[in-house]
Homo-oligomer: 353 residues x 3
Amino acid sequence: MTMDHLLSVDQFDRDRIDALFALARAAEPVARRRKVCRALEGAVLGNLFFEASTRTRISFAAAFCRLGGAVCDTTGFTFSSMAKGESIHDTSRVISGYVDALVVRHPERGAVAQFAQATHVPVVNGGDGPGEHPSQALLDLYTIGCEFARSGRRVDGAHVALIGDLKYGRTVHSLIKLLSLYRGLRFTLIAPPGLEMPEQLCEAVARRGHHVEARSTLLQRLDELDVAYATRIQRERFSGESIEGYTPEFRVDKSFLDTCCGPQTVLMHPLPRDSAPGAHDLSTDLDTDSRSAIFRQSDSGVAVRMAIFATLLGVERRLQGPLPDAGWRSPQRIGPNDAPFYTLDAASRGWSA
Amino acid sequence: MTMDHLLSVDQFDRDRIDALFALARAAEPVARRRKVCRALEGAVLGNLFFEASTRTRISFAAAFCRLGGAVCDTTGFTFSSMAKGESIHDTSRVISGYVDALVVRHPERGAVAQFAQATHVPVVNGGDGPGEHPSQALLDLYTIGCEFARSGRRVDGAHVALIGDLKYGRTVHSLIKLLSLYRGLRFTLIAPPGLEMPEQLCEAVARRGHHVEARSTLLQRLDELDVAYATRIQRERFSGESIEGYTPEFRVDKSFLDTCCGPQTVLMHPLPRDSAPGAHDLSTDLDTDSRSAIFRQSDSGVAVRMAIFATLLGVERRLQGPLPDAGWRSPQRIGPNDAPFYTLDAASRGWSA
Amino acid sequence: MTMDHLLSVDQFDRDRIDALFALARAAEPVARRRKVCRALEGAVLGNLFFEASTRTRISFAAAFCRLGGAVCDTTGFTFSSMAKGESIHDTSRVISGYVDALVVRHPERGAVAQFAQATHVPVVNGGDGPGEHPSQALLDLYTIGCEFARSGRRVDGAHVALIGDLKYGRTVHSLIKLLSLYRGLRFTLIAPPGLEMPEQLCEAVARRGHHVEARSTLLQRLDELDVAYATRIQRERFSGESIEGYTPEFRVDKSFLDTCCGPQTVLMHPLPRDSAPGAHDLSTDLDTDSRSAIFRQSDSGVAVRMAIFATLLGVERRLQGPLPDAGWRSPQRIGPNDAPFYTLDAASRGWSA
């Protein structure tokens, strides 16, 4: 597969997803610190964050480093030359003369595409405001595949519930588009009044032959639910009254998982979750429940982003070939609450089996 | 050539320039992502920017990375220990214990020289306010040499126009000093009233046997012009009235290039250019004209800065020896408007021929 | 020695200190740019500074780079996801999925320990407000050992004066704890009234069999003094009146060293020193006195932090084995005032002898 830039999930069909995820699986032993890859030794990433997003920035940077490359970061709202009136075109073309790939996060929709128009150096959309954040949607789908693989399930025919702010949440918009590429899914869309999934997206999904059902209450049985995907409450987008709809009953917690979901349900959330008092975001009482995949999900970001860089820079084979062992000691599990089946070694084995 | 620090263009004579540029040419295949160099593997750069300058910071960082080194950045106006009353001497000596080279950008003239006095670790002046920015002048001269080489021209005897704010623009001051080291040049200095080149610089240039002519209007024929070097309008240095002199007639655009210059004229600009409405800075209608070298100029920064580091750290031979190929895919051209002759491969070949 | 996290000097006994310092000595030729180590090639450090501390940040980063690893930095008071209500637990667990080790500096006591509770990836306390800063205390003790080694002295039985703000200075609290692990020391604690060492610390030191004497004036003979450790005046912690106690008579300068100390006294200071007018901090007239070890002390930070990372990541043997020479040129001495015996080569030889 060749790809000039990664700007939108609309660039993907199932073949491209399969190719990318095969590469992400090959990257797992490196992302999980078992192997070392030097494919990008000598290459430089421009990691341009015009909007703060520490975890996304570090996830991209770590992915590039694990391929052997070096990273130049910029953070903050003011890019000095842009403050002097420089156009996006000029900024992009100049920085492209220094680096081998660009990740750009920008508060304005379409700004990253403008970066891409000015350069043949590959540009990755790291989130363009209310626009897209394609690497997040890809790692979400990849995580679903990983979780299903353990129990022999497939994405085709799965039952997926999307929960929370489905109106403003760009991650669920991109994810439902990617899931729609598969066959015969059942979507239950659970949103407080006023925060429903946009009508046209629902229609597009239905037209592809999927079953779509909308609800406005959370506490109701979900039959044979495969995935419960809860979104972060984007308080920064609300005015005073509409957040009122986000009542405590909408909180996803262990009681919801035990009562309304099943033993096979995979719980996901794009993180960060708001743990401030009264936030009603995803409860921490789920952290010891092995159905919660929220940290396995964020962990997946490194392997998926390695696959993105490897594709854009044409080093797929270097990642798929034999790789030397990492020379340092890594813990068997990352977090003390990580599920027993989720050791770093097992994860690698799981994928190579 | 040995050099302890790079603080000023006054450190250079023609032999030193020739040696540095020979090294920059050797660095081109690496700067252009065709080859990989590991000469500085294990070395660390302290990239200290006490004033924001994203492109300069990334250009230095990329140059150090392409030599195989690692970079520690600091950005922002407050350096935490300096805020606690630490002297430049102490800051320089302490950081010098951690790194192998320092790039320092500082808003005050002379501050970088103070850094250099406190350490034997090489210090590069990345711009000291109204003082100097020697790597910019060197890459400007290097670009002129590259552009001339394609058409068999030499710097000796060339006709160079410097256009715009010649009073405050430190880049043109440093550039005219370097050009004065060559023989029999003709300088046309075109500045709005009140922004003329300082008299003593003009006299020094004339004393070296060059022809200097000053003008206050742009739109006039320039005979056999080899280089038109336009400066950025430094709006931040003006009070309300003096910027008035910067009328639209002073704008360098395609019409100026077609009417007043020739088919061989190389158009340069240190960037960033101000593309805000009413800025009258360099027009974008020049971007598809192959005479515009503005992005070839900024691209040159990496090779020239690699040569600077290689000289300061004594790894010239590693850069000049045979180097392994880069393992990843790079585009043939960086920008979609790049001139047809300016592919990454051709540029490398051009230099090695 | 195995160690999960480095949170406090309380984790150390003499055997652990000996093991760590043996490793730091092995790291010296790399820290001093004579040798290159690639033990952590492919590894990534998350260098999370929630509070500005440029020198500490760069010292840790340089140490990780000199072991062959790559560094992802975050700086500034706002961590974007924490601003969205994310808990320390979540931040720690998520970033741990990306990196191989974490250095965390945080303004609140105990915050770094919270980071460590959420992850099996090793966490290093880079300073938690009024809490601890264990790597500083370790490099202080290491420096004492290095200085003593040159003249054949031992830590056991040494006479150490701690001078200045002994109430708030966390570095002296941690250092006296570490020194207490040795035998038969004599401590002279010299503090202005109101800034004395906490009583319980003095008692704990005395219980271990050391001799502790307190004074409130500086200018008095100190018999056979081995170490004079002056602290930085933490002006940011004082209200108007209490800083009054910090009279000029409390200033450590060459006259104090000549009059009250001896020819063997090693002068130390954690830096930065406040060189602003009227600060009464450590005088610069000491900089050319070879008894001043203040920059040798800060230089030691790289080797000690390399030893910390090597221990946490289990690559001790890679550092102790034969290592290739560095390929670039380094100065013989770092600073122009460095003592004649302190060349980079001699230092390496000194340790390997």
